[in-house]
Amino acid sequence: MIGYLLRRLLSVVPTVWGIATIIFFLMFLIPGDPVRLMLGQHGDDEARVRITHELGLDKPIAVQYGLFLKRLMLGDLGDSYRQDRPVTGILIERIPATALLAFAAMLISIVAGVVAGLAAAVRQNKITDAVVMILSLIGISTPVFWLGLLLILVFASRTFDGAPVVFGWLPVSGYGEPGWDRIRHLILPALSLSAIGMGYIARMTRSSILEVIRQDYIRTAEAKGLSRFSVLMKHTLRNAMIPVVTIIGLDFAALLGGAVATETVFSWPGLGKVIVDAIRQLDGPVVEGGVMFIALIFVLVNICVDLLYVVIDPRIRLH
């Protein structure tokens, strides 16, 4: 297991190198002169030359690329042009908010998705099945940001079309105070972000269960007199979860992308919001560092998903 984990972690190196290379060249192309951005209008030529030198921008591109990789290995993503501090620090302090949001959304989509998929599979070709399938397609097709706005409109607005609304239960946006207030602020963004995952997971659970249900060992389990519920939970669901776990891993990409939109709509102070704010302020290092950071998280989550396979399905050999 340890050996497998190490090999898997090593296989990440070329991928991360590829991502870093793309990011570097993107940063190189960024519009606006960073030196001028840092100095504002007051900088004289001497200061300009000094800062260009300090940033290493006077060196050949190959040297800059080498330095970039070296700094990256030390966890240094450069300094923000707008806030006079390292990008890594800015990003790290935003992790808890995004992690909370992503975790909540993931939890909702897994629970609701698996239950809905199970219900659809058990009642295949009945009305429940049709409703679940259509709802999950709608979930996949609805833009996350728009769903967020709809939820705000229905559950958070104080007025609608000039008239007061009964549903004004939840806060429109923000992060709230720790505790109950935080949870109240979390509900709507988490719900809107969970829709896509819910759809994919419900579809996958359904088809996977329909596949497993036809296997001989299920018939054996039924034949030896186990209750229907027991067969479903112990024999079917566990085996059906393997492809679902893959989808959960893939879905994480959509989730991270969606988080950018959701955090913007709900002013949720996470990584996505920081990236969008940085775009508006032309703060290149924060944008590219943030994208790099999220890509890294994504790669690591996929490794976790691979490990999860082994836990769920002991038949998978470790090589």
């Binding site: 993107l26 833009p143 079309d161 990409a253 991270l256 890509a295």
Partner: protein
């Protein structure tokens, strides 16, 4: 072909998908003839009428008007053009790149395969939407044109992977061997024997890719990184309506419905195509 059509038409959901996509294409083509107003025409007289501001849906303006008095129904209709162009053109670029790289990797193997597979894995390791943000943030003047380019350059990895797998499995077939034995060149073998066998998976992944592209365009435009005012892009229209959400809901509502229904249509069509063209992939 007739058999495939019959198969597709058997599924109610696929038929709904075909109807939606057809309506979308018709709306896009016929927008100048069918739209009741000019989508760019600002009507300030209308805006200042009591109560001032965007006007709610009415018989004259089915979807209401926006804060500049522009007819939302006409704008949504013209929006279909942008959505369709982005979806189809970007997918076209992605498909061409994906087919070329996937074929090279699957057919030649060895180091060519290793390099292309590494590129594909890297592209997959990157949440595509984020890469799009990264690129659109550095583009000097974001516009719909750049979205074609970016989505086209990002979306090839899925196609390449599918094609590579398909080519790998067909390469060893007896008929490929026979073609090689009678002296057919690589190019001829690829075009005559390998690619035609890959058309089904290409079509399926392209249709579903179009749905994804349309969502991404809407999302980038919503963030201000895509279409710029006054272009009637659905995503941008939702942004413009955001400030009026509680008081003038229709500005957000209708463009959003247009996005959701369009994406739903392409997804349904993609599902139907997959079930009809490649039964082995069914239920996935």
């Amino acid at each position: 072909m007739g058999r495939i059509w019959k198969q597709i038409l058997k599924s109610k959901l696929a038929v709904i998908g075909i109807v939606i996509v057809t309506c979308l294409v018709l709306a896009a083509i016929l927008a100048p003839a069918l739209a009741p107003y000019d989508p760019f025409e600002i009507d300030l007289d209308l805006v200042i009428q009591e109560p001032p501001g965007p006007k709610p849906p009415s018989r004259a303006h089915w979807f209401g008007t926006d804060d500049l008095g522009r007819d939302l129904f006409s704008r949504v209709m013209y929006g279909a053009r942008i959505s369709l162009m982005v979806g189809v053109l970007a997918m076209g670029i992605a498909t061409v790149i994906g087919v070329i790289l996937g074929t090279l990797a699957g057919y030649y193997g060895g180091w060519v395969d290793a390099v292309i597979t590494w590129m594909t894995d890297t592209a997959f390791a990157f949440p595509a939407a984020l890469l799009a943000i990264g690129v659109m943030a550095i583009v000097p003047n974001p516009s719909v044109f750049w979205i074609f380019v970016v989505l086209g350059l990002i979306g090839w990895a899925g196609v390449a992977r599918v094609i590579r797998g398909k080519i790998l499995s067909v390469r060893e077939e007896d008929y490929t061997e026979a073609a090689r034995a009678v002296g057919a060149g690589d190019f001829r073998i690829i075009c005559r024997y390998l690619l035609p066998n890959s058309i089904a998976p290409i079509m399926v992944s392209a249709t579903i890719g179009i749905a994804g592209n349309i969502l991404t365009e809407a999302w980038l435009s919503f963030l201000g990184l895509g279409a710029q005012p006054p272009v009637p892009s659905w995503g941008l229209m939702v942004t413009e309506g955001q400030a009026y959400l509680a008081s003038h809901y229709w500005m957000c509502l209708f463009p959003g419905i247009a996005i959701a229904v369009t994406v739903l249509g392409w997804n349904l069509l993609g599902d139907g195509l997959r079930d009809a063209l490649d039964p082995r992939l069914r239920d996935f």
